[in-house]
C-alpha cells in the first residue's frame, strides 16, 4: 500500500483538472446524448420494420438496454491517458518523469483512475440508474448476480482498455500523426467491441475473427453478462478470456516500454 500511496496524488490531480472544465464536459455529454437518441429512434424503426419481434436474440427492450449500457460501459472503461502521453513525449517533459523515482505506467494508471472516478459520479450513477429502471420496467425485477458479474467484468474491461491504449500511446515515440492512428483504431474498436452494434449481428466468420482481439472483452462481455445472455460455464470462460487479455496486454506494454526507453534520445530539455 505504501508503494502505491504517492500515486493517488495523480488521481486527485486529474479530478481537479476535469472539474475546472465542468461546463465544457457537460456539453460533450449532451452531444453523446444526441448520438444515443439517434440510435434509439433508429432501433425503433428497425424493430418496427422487422417481420420478427426478436433480432438475433434481442427484443426491442433488451436492445435499448444494450444501447444505453454499452454507452455507459464505454465511458467507464475510458482511461483517457493517450492525450497526456502524447503531449509529454512531444514536448520532451517525459524526460522529467524518467529521472524521478516514479513508475510511468503506474502513474498513468492512477491518472486513468481519476477519469473513472469522475465518470462514475457524473455518468455512471445516472446511466446505470436508467438501465436498472428500464430493467425493472420491462421485466419486473433485477438480477443481483448479473449486476455483480457486470461490475466485475467492467473493472476487468477497464484494465484491458487501459493497457491497450497505454501501449498504443507509447507509439507516439515513433509516429507523429497519432490523431490519424487513433481515428483508425477508434473505427476498429467501435465495431469489434460491440459499442456500435451487438457482436451477434456479425456473420459467423467475423465473430470468430473478433475472438483474437481484446476489444470484445472491453464492452461486449460486461453488457452480455448484465443481460444474462451468458450462462454456466460460458460466464467463467468469458471472464477467463478477460483475465488472459489483462495478462497479455500488461506483458506487451512493458515489453514496448523497455524497448523504447533503451533507444530513447531526447533533444533539448
Amino acid at each position: 500500500m505504501k508503494r502505491i500511496k504517492p500515486y493517488f496524488t495523480f488521481t486527485s490531480n486529474v479530478l481537479k483538472t476535469i472539474l475546472s472544465y465542468k461546463a465544457n464536459v457537460i456539453g460533450f455529454y449532451l452531444g453523446d446524448m444526441m448520438i444515443l437518441l439517434v440510435t434509439y429512434y433508429l432501433w425503433k424503426a428497425i424493430f418496427t420494420s422487422s417481420p420478427e419481434a426478436i433480432l438475433k436474440g434481442f427484443d426491442f427492450n433488451e436492445m435499448i438496454i444494450y444501447v444505453i449500457l454499452s454507452f455507459v460501459t464505454s465511458v467507464m472503461v475510458n482511461a483517457e491517458v493517450s492525450g497526456t502521453i502524447n503531449r509529454e513525449v512531444k514536448d520532451g517533459s517525459i524526460a522529467m518523469n524518467l529521472i524521478r523515482p516514479i513508475n510511468y505506467e503506474k502513474r498513468m494508471f492512477f491518472e486513468g483512475l481519476g477519469n473513472v472516478i469522475y465518470n462514475l459520479v457524473l455518468i455512471f450513477i445516472v446511466g446505470f440508474g436508467a438501465v436498472l429502471f428500464l430493467s425493472v420496467k420491462y421485466t419486473g425485477s433485477i438480477n443481483v448476480l448479473n449486476i455483480v458479474l457486470y461490475m466485475f467484468s467492467t473493472a476487468l474491461g477497464f484494465v484491458i482498455n487501459f493497457y491497450y491504449s497505454y501501449a498504443l500511446s507509447l507509439l507516439t515515440f515513433k509516429i507523429t500523426n497519432m490523431w490519424g492512428l487513433y481515428q483508425i483504431m477508434n473505427a476498429i474498436t467501435q465495431l469489434l467491441s460491440g459499442a456500435l452494434i451487438p457482436i451477434v449481428f456479425f456473420p459467423n466468420w467475423a465473430q470468430t475473427l473478433f475472438n483474437f482481439f481484446p476489444f470484445k472483452s472491453i464492452i461486449y462481455t460486461p453488457c452480455m453478462l448484465y443481460l444474462g445472455k451468458l450462462s454456466g460455464l460460458d460466464i467463467i470462460y468469458a471472464l477467463g478470456i478477460q483475465v488472459l487479455w489483462v495478462v497479455i496486454l500488461i506483458a506487451l506494454s512493458r515489453f514496448i516500454w523497455k524497448d523504447l526507453i533503451k533507444n530513447l534520445t531526447i533533444l533539448g530539455g
Partner: protein
Amino acid sequence: MKRYIKLYKRFLQQYIKSLMEYRVDFVLGLIGFILVQMAGVVFIQLIFNSIPSLQGWSFYEILFIYGIAQIPRGIDHVFTDYLWIFSWKTIAKGEFDRYLLRPINPLFQVISESFQPDGFGEIIIGTVLVIYSSFHLGISFGIIQILSFIVIMISATIIYTSIKLATTSIAFWVKFSQSYIFMAYSISGFAKYPIGIFPKGVKIVLIGIIPFAFTGYYPGAYLLGRESFFMGVVMTAIISIIAFIVAYNIWLKGIKVYESAGN
C-alpha cells in the same frame, strides 16, 4: 475578392509543401476518416441482413442518403477545420488580437490557418457510396440532377460551415466553445437517416433550428425522387443563405464583445 483568392493560393502552396514532408501523416488521417465512416456503413449493412427495408427505405436508398450527407461534411472539414482549434485555443490564449491588427477579414485569416486533408476521407467515402448506390438503384443523372447536385453540395457545405461558425463564436463570450460545436455536430447524426423515423420535435429542430436536415436527408431524398424539388434544392439553398447570415452576424457580434485575454 481577387486579393483574397491570391492570398489563399499562396497559403495553399505553403501548405502543400508541408504536406509533402509529412506524407505518412496524411495517409493515416485519410484512412482514419474513411474507416470511421465505414463503421457506419457496416452498421447499416448488418441491420439490413435482418430486415427487408427500413420503414419503406431500401438498403441502397439509405446508403445513398448516407453518402450525400458525407460529402458536404468533408468539404467543410477540409476548409474550416481551424474553427475547432479556435474554439479552445485562440480566445483563451489571447491570440485573437493579431487577426484584428491586419487589414484582412479576420474570419478569412482564421480559416486560412489550416487546410485539413483528412476531410478528403469523408468526401471519398461519400462519393463512392453515392456512385455505388446510384448504380444499384438505376438512378440516371440528367442535366437537371447534375445542376441540382452542384447547388446542393455548395449549399449543404455552407450550412455545415454556418453551424460550426455560430457555435465556435460562443467562445467570444465563454472562452471555450469546443463542446458546443461537438453538440451541434452530434445532431448531424440525424441527417444521415430518413427524417420520417424521428418524432416531430426532432424534425422541427432539424429543419428550423439546427438545419442539418438540408445537409443529407432532403437533398438525398429529392435525388431519389422521394421529396420535392422545392424541399431538396430550393429550400436547401435558401436555408444555407439564412444560416450563413445568422452565423456571420453572431461572429461579428462576438468580435465586438471580445476582450483580449492576453497580457
